[in-house]
Subunit: 253 residues, 2 copies
């Protein structure tokens, strides 16, 4: 088994980085070979645009999908994206570790999705969802939030955590991954008080242990249910009588 | 009235740019002074990190919030962020124009949120929601999607559009803005076929006219309802009996 961990946090000693260390240790102890893409350390450029394509198919009109496909087919995908795609190619398990910023992910990780999930290479209009490129592999979010857990309930101030994580979880399903339930460490504020991994508050130590437990039992983990091609009609809506698994369906007839 | 339009698309002639042009023309005709932040043209750096802070409060431990607040208080906020914050300061109406990428926004716009919405300057733990800095001003999303409209229903393949737009809409509410209902142009694929604004398909022309109509009637627009401080208990959950306005509440008791 091989794992890729994608880490997106600007502070190398952050609690996010400490959770990444827990993941590396746990998975290596379980026999995984682990690679880490530390996006800040890599200086990953998250802005998709024409400067990443040396031989453009449509130099007068930049379309990200057109150029991603063209570059991939010509073997001209940029070295930074190619390196990430190669890591994905090698990984049976993909883990994201990041802080929730503005109810979403840091821009450096958002742009990793925009650039590394290559149209025409790793997905097409047909090669997605249960027909996705990475079918048979698994992926999981591990995220920290600033706000406390109660505020991420359906009636909480910040909104339902499952729905906030949908764009990333659904992107992973879109690519074919089996998506494991997310791991969420709530109420994590940045700050020097977490700087010594040996003296962090017990609550945070508990999160580390909980993540280790989760990752130590990967084989037993049940992926989240998503709908697939057979469930949708030609307009992209659920066929009558088909159960809808997304959190959007809650409370719907 | 003054408007700031924040545009995030890598192609200067894109349909998104054309919608921005429609917005500029409509609002100027209505007497607004309009500024545009074209994030790609500006080369805006969306990656929040230590390199943006010249005199750090905690040089050994980077915390975005700590440094944003410290720089703001010292008058040392970076010139690019300061310029955007000044534009926000001047604008009565804030309009975002961007394509939906991976069920979210392009990284360059995500990072504009991460960097420009300055902690300790434009919001604090108390100065947010209905007590937010921009209370009394209004904001609105105008977004294009690749997928067709049916797929963004609650039972659609891509998921409920209101929930997908929640992170941006709620961020705007968080900053104090009155948030107008989003304008969504569905089924917009990038490509040369849209390159001549005078010969684009009628369906797209219809979207331009619809956006112009929406922006031409701003005075009559009713903001979306959001909950505020008085609605939440000390744990950040809705108090009993208080109606919940977020789309997360759908179907909930």
């Amino acid at each position: 088994m091989r794992t890729l961990i994608v880490l997106a946090h600007p502070e190398a000693k952050s609690f996010n980085a400490q959770l990444k260390d827990v993941a590396v240790e746990t998975l290596e102890n379980a026999g995984h070979r682990v690679e880490v893409s530390d996006l800040y350390a890599l200086g990953f450029d998250p802005v998709e645009g024409p400067e990443h394509f040396t031989e453009m198919k449509q130099p007068d009109w930049f379309s990200a999908q057109t150029e991603q496909r063209h570059a991939w087919e010509q073997g001209k995908t940029g070295a930074d994206v190619r390196a990430e795609a190669d890591k994905l190619e090698r990984a049976d398990f993909l883990l994201f570790q990041y802080p929730m910023w503005w109810f979403s992910m840091p821009a450096i990780l958002k742009g990793w999705l925009d650039r590394v999930l290559v149209y025409g290479g790793l997905y097409t209009s047909r090669m997605r969802y249960d027909e996705g490129y990475f079918t048979g592999r698994r992926a999981m979010i591990s995220v920290t939030t600033g706000g406390p857990e109660a505020t991420f309930a359906h009636n909480g101030r910040n909104g339902d955590i499952d729905l906030l994580l949908w764009p990333m979880n659904f992107a992973l399903h879109y690519m074919g991954y089996g998506v494991l339930p997310p791991f969420v460490a709530y109420g994590i504020e940045g700050g020097l008080k977490y700087s010594n991994p040996d003296s962090i508050p017990g609550r945070l130590q508990g999160y580390k242990e909980a993540l280790a437990a989760r990752l130590g039992a990967l084989d037993e983990a049940e992926p989240l249910k998503f709908n697939g091609w057979d469930d949708w009609d030609e307009d992209g809506r659920l066929k009558p009588g088909v159960p809808g698994y997304s959190p959007f369906m809650r409370g719907q007839p």
